[in-house]
């Protein structure tokens, strides 16, 4: 059974790579381009892991993360924050709000895939 991955990012130029990568690894992929869509997809698509961007329209990644963690039904979902914000304080905030990993752009695709695989066990 292949794992389901939700990619949440408003930039098509990164989504194209992520989507291709994930599909290549054999995951089922769904996309969301803003925070609200991400929350809907989280329930509808029931992903095992979410790649979550922070700077997005409507709801920021922080808010989405906090909302996801507040929902007991989604407690098992792994969250990787994937962002261009690299400040130490933001990393701390992301992890405090319940993200499982925090990866700053630019990142190595190999590392990302490795990280995802280790989280999904």
């Amino acid at each position: 059974m292949s794992h389901r991955i939700l990619i949440v990012d408003d930039e098509p130029n990164i989504v194209i790579s992520l989507e291709y990568l994930m599909k290549k690894e054999g995951f089922q992929v769904a996309l969301a381009t803003d925070g609200e869509a991400a929350l809907q997809q989280a329930s509808a698509f029931a992903p095992d892991l979410i790649l979550l961007d922070i700077m997005m329209p409507k709801k920021s990644g922080f808010e989405v993360c906090q909302a996801l963690r507040a929902d007991p039904a989604l407690a098992a979902v792994k969250i990787i924050m994937l962002t261009a914000k690299g400040r130490e304080t933001e990393v701390a905030k992301g992890l405090a709000l319940g993200a499982d990993a925090y990866i700053t752009k630019p990142f190595s695709t190999k590392d990302l895939v490795a990280q995802i695989k280790s989280l999904l066990g």
Binding site: I16, L21, T89, A92, K93, A96
Partner: protein
């Protein structure tokens, strides 16, 4: 007894002395003799009695003449001399006693003249010294004024009440430039001698900085100054540096001021627990050793408008942000695309083409971004929010004090690392903490707040913890973007602004195990070794301090006072002397104000630079018959602000002063009629020079301003403009104050009472 009676008494005594013994002897002999002897005695004596009587009379006359001349020389002579001495004592210092009369009197006169001589020499000497001292002070003042006027920074000196004692023209210009609204006066006029600095700068900010300075002084800091940035009501940013004006505590008469200062809470109060925790014991010892000798009597503020600098700075920050975060994303996209391409040789040609396009797009966007960022970066100047290195527990203690004071919300301290230093804008941060506390109290009725301080790497965590109630995380997002308000106090900053200013973060977190929730504020840590305390104490006490602290400025403490107490002396109060020009004399029938002029009196001086002078558009047409009187034409009032703008500005100009006007009832009537529609009430006491003139010269026919000015010897120039008349009224008033004092009218209340009692007071418009 008068000299004349004493002379008559002396004459009687002389008469008795000359006749008495003889008559007594005769009577005794007569009583002792036998009848025959008595007869022989009478026969012998009676015929010779006229001769004896005559001789006695002659002797008596001689005695009288002698007595009279002695009286003339000694008694009258001395009386004359006493009168002369009295004259010398008062009216004519150069007068001397004439050397006449008997030697003893002359000797006395000579001695008195010597004394007078000595006194005159002493007087001249003291006079010279005073003159010299005055000249020195004057010279120093001029030197300081010259020095200050050349400074490119605004300088304001205030006493502890926040009264402005000194300002330079730069400061005046800076605030004038900040003036908003269409009147020429608003803003700029608010800088003035005796005025409160709090009308310009936020009171909390000043008090907080003073507290900081006090604390540093107690610790023996080398630079007991405080920096802060504040924004004015119209959004300009001012950078202020505050330096204390110190006096060593040798002068015991002024030490009381120290006790009035806020930072040391009196023992036994609720805040004791907090301060006890926050202030280590060794500090208290220093407090006693140093604090007793140093006394802050006021402060010097240097002020710089950095709005433009700050805008540049914000721009620069944006540029940097664009360079880092913007390119980080682009680089991420490129890297992901490239790596995918490399790892996927099997990729379809058109998918490959899409990936190549991504790389090309992102690369060109990146170079464009780099280009614009670099050009913007080039004209940005380096200005920063002045973040200070502060001991973390000091900030929490101050915040706790503030929260308990303002919100009556109990604060507990939990796991506070006493060694942590952080780099913060302490005022803004304390405001932020207080704001959060107040929100929690208002919306979630929390009963207690705990403050925790911890660190991780280069980050310091400040946690605000409460039990029970949980909140939704959206709530914090909303609070972050609101301007921070606590009670009536509003900050122009939002919580987000404060956090961003520190490069920090804030979030809401729950601690399920402990049944509590907390806000965590992350701030940058600072490494701050405490400066050695030894040499600064010396620096503060050294004689190298500039001389101009010797000004009598700080004696003016309370001279302008806060609030207006009717028991205060007329000479101690600050006044706004004003006049209006109007379309006509019937305020109740629609006449309107067309010009308002005012000048301030502080410390018995008419401050001709601190004025209010404004034409007003009356909205109704001017009456042609009025134009020759006030000289104001339609063209002049067209386009001028209306009273709804001018009157509030004028109200602000007059704040905390007694109003003075000639025939004030007339002007006040105009104001009263506008009270409701404009929401401006003049509640301060009003003195009327017309009534005061009637008090001083009840028998004079005319109490018109010209007549009074003429009586008091004042040159009248520029009459019948509002400001011109205000000047004259002000001078008249200043001349009246000593005349009133001669009549026993010294305090404001006495002046108001006396005014009311005069006949004119009953005339109402």
């Amino acid at each position: 007894m008068k000299a004349k009676y004493r002379f008559m008494l002396a004459a009687c005594v002389l008469g008795l002395l000359m006749t008495g013994p003889f008559a007594l002897t005769a009577a005794l002999l007569f009583a002792d003799a036998k009848d025959a002897e008595r007869e022989a005695f009478a026969q012998f004596l009676l015929p010779r009695l006229p001769l004896g009587g005559l001789m006695t009379l002659l002797g008596f006359i001689g005695g009288l003449i002698l007595l009279r001349s002695l009286f003339q020389q000694y008694v009258h002579g001395l009386l004359r001399m006493a009168e002369t001495l009295r004259l010398m004592l008062g009216a004519n210092h150069n007068f001397r006693v004439a050397l006449e009369g008997p030697p003893e009197v002359r000797e006395l006169a000579r001695a008195a003249n010597h004394l007078a001589q000595q006194r005159d020499e002493l007087l001249t000497d003291v006079g010279d010294q005073i003159r010299n001292a005055k000249a020195t002070v004057e010279e120093e003042k001029n030197r300081l004024a010259a020095l200050m006027s050349e400074l490119a920074m605004g300088v304001i000196v205030c006493n502890l009440d926040g009264r402005i004692l000194l300002y330079n023209s730069r400061a005046r210009l800076q605030f004038k430039a900040l003036a908003q609204g269409p009147t020429s006066m608003s803003g700029g006029a608010l800088i003035g001698l005796g005025r409160s600095i709090f009308s310009i700068l936020e009171r909390g900010q000043i008090t907080h900085s003073l507290e900081n300075i006090q604390q540093r002084l107690r610790k023996g800091s080398a630079e007991p100054t405080a920096n802060f940035i504040t924004s004015t009501r119209n959004g300009q940013l001012l950078r202020c540096q505050m330096a204390p004006v110190l006096r060593t505590g040798a002068d015991s008469t002024t030490t009381a001021i120290v006790n009035n200062l806020p930072p040391t809470p009196p023992p036994g109060e609720g805040s004791d627990e907090v301060s006890g925790q926050a202030v280590p014991d060794h500090e208290k010892v220093l407090d006693n050793a140093l604090g007793a000798e140093l006394e802050v009597t006021g402060y010097v503020l240097t002020i710089e408008n950095i709005t433009r600098n700050f805008e540049r700075e914000a721009e620069r920050d944006q540029a940097l942000q664009a360079l880092t975060d913007g390119n980080r994303a682009a680089l991420g996209n490129i890297r992901a695309a490239v790596e995918t391409l490399l790892d996927s040789p099997e990729m379809e040609p058109d998918t490959r083409a899409r990936f190549t396009r991504v790389i090309a797009d992102e690369a060109s966007a990146m170079s464009g971004r780099l280009e614009t960022t670099m050009s913007r970066f080039a004209d940005s100047l380096k200005t920063r929010w002045p973040l200070e290195d502060v001991l973390g527990i000091d900030i929490l203690a101050a915040a706790a004090r503030r929260i308990e004071e303002r919100l009556q919300l109990p604060i507990k301290h939990e796991d506070q690392d006493a060694e942590l230093w952080m780099r913060v804008d302490s005022f803004a941060l304390i405001q932020a903490i207080t704001f959060l506390a107040s929100r929690l109290q208002d919306h979630y009725a929390i009963r207690e707040l705990r403050l925790r301080l911890s660190a991780e790497g280069r980050m310091v965590f400040v946690d605000l913890i409460w039990s029970g109630t949980t909140i939704s995380s959206e709530t914090l997002y909303t609070w972050e973007l609101e301007p921070m308000t606590v009670g009536a106090e509003t900050s122009p900053l939002t919580l987000r602004d404060v956090i961003d200013r520190h490069g920090g973060e804030i979030w809401y977190q729950r601690d399920k195990a402990a049944h509590s929730a907390f806000f965590r504020i992350v701030l940058p840590a600072a490494v701050m070794p405490e400066a050695p305390a030894t040499d600064q104490a010396q620096h503060l006490h050294s004689d190298s301090r500039p001389e101009y602290y010797d000004f009598d400025l700080f004696a003016a403490r309370d001279a302008a006072g806060s609030g207006i107490d009717p028991e205060r002396r007329l000479t101690d109060l600050a006044y706004s002397v004003f006049d209006t020009e109007t379309t006509g004399l019937q305020p109740s029938e629609g006449d309107e104000i067309i010009q308002l002029g005012a000048v301030r009196i502080v410390n018995n001086r008419l401050l001709r630079q601190e004025i209010f002078d404004q034409l007003v558009d009356p909205v109704i047409p001017l009456k042609p018959e009025g134009i020759p009187i006030h000289g104001i034409t339609e063209a002049m009032v067209n386009g001028q602000p209306k009273l709804d703008v001018v009157l509030p500005a004028f109200h602000e100009f007059c704040a905390e002063t007694v109003l003075v006007a000639h025939n004030a009832a007339f002007d006040m009537r105009f104001f009263q009629l506008k009270e409701e529609s404009l929401g401006v009430r003049f509640t301060q006491p009003v003195l009327d020079t017309l009534l005061l003139s009637a008090v001083i010269h009840p028998n004079q026919e005319s109490h018109r301003l010209e007549s009074i000015a003429e009586r008091l010897g004042i040159n009248v120039i520029g009459r019948h403009t509002a400001l011109g008349d205000a000047y004259v009224t002000g001078e008249v008033f200043l001349k009246m104050v000593p005349l009133l004092a001669d009549m026993g009218i010294v305090t404001l209340r006495q002046a108001l009472d006396a005014s009311q009692q005069t006949y004119f007071a009953r005339v109402k418009y």
